[in-house]
Symmetry: C2
Subunit: 517 residues, 2 copies
């Protein structure tokens, strides 16, 4: 794509055709300015196969707002739509609609509430609530899902890797394995979720983080081909980057060549008054090799150098490496805790693709329509009760128990405030037999989750910087029960409805069944 | 990201930090203008878990060329690099290098050979061969892998779905489930590989394909909330799009409400002289429902309407649906072949993410360095023989047997032309015991695979339009053995070396082991 094509394909036409055909229909039916509400939520946590998430990290909102601000129908876009032909050869889009769209096809009537980025989120709770004129709300769907689904997916995966690595430094190396420019969204989400730095230069620059990296195998190969060998390559690197000397030691043979050569160069650096940073292992049995590397580096007097591990790492592989080090390091005379404390993890493919579950099934569902000033809750009865969205205007709350641990997310009708209740009834969203009651004394805090972001198109929320988003994530994760954060078979966190919302939902389902019959 | 940030993050800084630190090292060592060759290839076919690819479809080249043409270091990029600080606080990049980079940091010395887009490709055969000054070739790595890996991955997945659907219409619906703007690359690759149309408006426009789509559940829900019901929604749609009337029938109840209402509207259309297009099923047992739908549509006199199926389809689900229809349709009085012939598949998540294998492990490996006019083959001895890249300047050939079926891909040394040999020896790339001989009489054709695309930065190749790429793909796939194209446990296609290339590789490995010892 050339730059002009890119502007077309990433602008307001970054959407599905049916959004436009529906928009014209609403316009022609005179419904286009009726207000509607769509909820954006996901139905289940990512399930990676052998392991599953018990929480997600919300991400992407700022980029959605950026897109909404820029997306407008240009004359050129309208001319393109004017030329679209139906099967019969007739035009699909008519002049009256296109004129209206040219003038009104923006998001300036949208009111948007959202759970802030970096927050822990759970299934079926609205992450984003879009209210506004029907056409505007409908035209937002595709881009909203595209932007928010992916960043939430990756922030979640990064958080799991960060957790699995015991908070040791985590580096995002995913750029070459992402979906084109989408990898930039991945880098941002990785930083939100738990990566500490990224190798991606452009995104690091945009986000104000220093990019991280060392050298590739090719550098060693070039020195070898030119007869200067691995040691020559390492020396050249150390000369140029004496205070950032991190050497990749597996081009020839990690234990026989790479680490001994690295130690030679580290000793030279030390004599010149510099402190070497460490080594990177990118192949082989990383747990075994890191024990051997630690032993050799310790013996040479470099116990504080880091050992960067990379090569298809994910949360399970990191966990396995740490477990193996705990089990095996002692018999090599290496202190496992010290070794684990000097590890850094470089994660690429399995982070940027969310290996095991490469898409978040976030959806955008109509929940209410405003008719003559009255909001009518809308419902879709699907094939299964747990897929039926929760209708109408709602609020979302997080309930913390007496220990300060998040114990449930609660959806209520818009005019309910559970903070004023003496006793909280938490109903399962689809199983009528499941119900839980909490006395006021069992509750430390009830916190509203949604904040107003856009008010009739006007931004009334300042997206926080990445650092603040990261702190928000850390704070939220620290208030989860350990059972919820474990990697395999996590506890099911409660997502509940108030009694009133439950009753509304049941009555709507019943009325639909009547209508249908 | 705002537009200015996007230009930064998608320009020349769309790269990994180590490319820049290595570039400075080559510059400082006086190596930066030495020529090198990198081969881009993948090591194994996508393995989706329960099923595996036996071939890939090459894609992405045109977008890589577009990126290379635009990517330049701006003053602003240089200023950013000037400000980067090492751990010690010292600058990472020095003025002499940055001045040189500002003037020379482009790809105008690159000579690039590639296998054209749409061609069937196999592991370890170079898909892209990059030759040029060391810094330029190194700076290309990240973007090249990012662009080519993903599009090849998705073109391959689309081809499998197209194959599984027996060539029936395949629609890409993946936009909302891709990685941000990377979903646009996915739409293009899907069209190359086997999707016939996309719902993605912007990319369809850029590529000159009509975008496809109908309506969403929300349209029916809105009409229901306003008391006009599903039938009202269908009527409104048919009034506006009488010649493109495709109705989504599963919002309430597919068999009890959706299809009967659709038939009512179709009959009204017919009376007005229009031909309804068909229905879409987006939930439930798609095979069972499509049989019932066919029966109902046939009985109402609409045997030619299409039935679009969607909802987490992939090549296995499509295969299952067709199998179930073949088994079950007859007992409902429905002709299975006629029904299969009217199906259209809408594929989203599992196409755009290449479900089961969300990244192609394409790599970019140094294979030769030019020193004082002499090319020195470079090699990296990894932990396993089959991961050792094939060294030096090579050519890639496809050998067709007497039936005209592709029987092997063959790599030779640059000055070899296997077309002149009386007898072809095909050696396994790593297993010395495996060897195959073909007499001239057993060979219909030997075809060179790589074409010159860039000659010292100048484009000498005209990227073909998507239609031509699609035809190329069809032609190539038709020349594969059916065992290679099957979905599960495909035949292993032979990728071989000539005797001379095999000998070169062995002697290099031996010399490296000597050097190491």
């Amino acid at each position: 794509m050339n730059p002009a094509e890119k502007r077309i394909a990433e602008g307001i036409l970054f959407t599905d055709q049916y959004q436009l055909t529906m928009a014209q229909l609403y316009y022609r039916a005179g419904l286009h300015e009726k207000h509607v509400q769509f909820d954006h939520f996901f139905r289940s946590y990512p399930d990676y196969g052998l392991h599953q998430a018990g929480y997600c990290i919300n991400a992407g909102l700022e980029w959605l707002l950026d897109w909404m601000r820029e997306a407008r129908f240009t004359d050129d876009d309208i001319a393109y739509l004017r030329d679209q032909r139906a099967g019969s050869g007739a035009r699909i889009f008519h002049d009256d609609f296109l004129d209206w769209l040219r003038a009104n096809g923006s998001f300036d009537g949208i009111t948007l509430h959202a759970i802030p980025e970096g927050r822990v989120v759970h299934p079926n709770v609205p992450l984003t609530v879009v209210e506004g004129p029907m056409v505007q709300a409908q035209l937002l769907e595709t881009a909203l899902l595209n932007v928010l689904n992916y960043q939430t997916l990756i922030a979640t995966k990064a958080c799991r890797m960060h957790h699995s690595g015991r908070g040791r430094l985590l580096l995002d190396f995913g750029l070459r394995r992402g979906q084109g420019t989408g990898a930039n969204a991945g880098a941002r989400a990785a930083l939100i979720g738990g990566a500490d730095f990224s190798s991606n230069v452009g995104m690091s620059r945009v986000l104000g983080y220093p990019p991280k990296g060392t050298h590739a195998h090719s550098m060693v190969q070039i020195y070898m081909a030119l007869g200067m060998g691995e040691l020559g390559a390492f020396r050249a690197y150390a000369d140029l980057y004496p205070d950032d000397c991190l050497l990749l030691v597996d081009t020839i043979d990690t234990l026989e060549s790479g680490i001994p050569n690295a130690i030679t160069v580290f000793e030279e650096l030390r004599r010149k008054g510099h402190k070497p940073v460490g080594i990177r292992l990118d192949s082989g049995d990383l747990a075994y090799l890191s024990i051997q590397a630690a032993q050799m580096l310790d013996a040479a007097g470099f116990p504080d150098t880091v050992i960067v591990l990379s090569n298809n790492l994910d949360e399970l592989v990191i966990w396995q490496i740490i477990t193996q080090i705990r089990d095996e390091a002692p018999r090599w005379g290496v202190d496992p805790d010290h070794l684990i404390g000097r590890l850094t993890y470089g994660v690429g493919t399995r982070l940027v693709t969310s290996w095991g579950e490469p898409a978040l099934g976030g959806v955008y569902k109509l929940v209410a329509v405003c008719d003559e000033g009255r909001w009518i809750p809308a419902i879709k009865v699907s094939d299964s009760a747990d897929k039926t969205p929760n209708p109408g205007h709602k609020r979302a709350w997080r309930v913390y128990d007496a220990r300060g641990t998040a114990t449930a997310d609660l959806m209520s009708i818009d005019d309910e405030d559970p903070r004023t209740a003496d006793r909280l009834i938490l109903r399962h969203p689809s199983d009528h037999s499941k119900c839980r009651a909490l006395d006021r004394s069992e509750i430390a805090e009830i916190e509203p989750l949604l904040v107003e972001v856009l008010h009739e198109g006007k931004q009334v929320y300042d997206p926080p910087p990445i650092d603040a988003i990261r702190q928000r994530r850390e704070a939220d994760v620290s208030r989860l029960d350990p059972g919820v954060t474990r990697l395999i078979n996590p506890h099911i966190y409660h997502v509940s409805l108030t009694d009133r919302l439950w009753n509304l939902k049941q009555s709507l389902i019943a009325s639909l069944i009547d209508q249908d019959a």
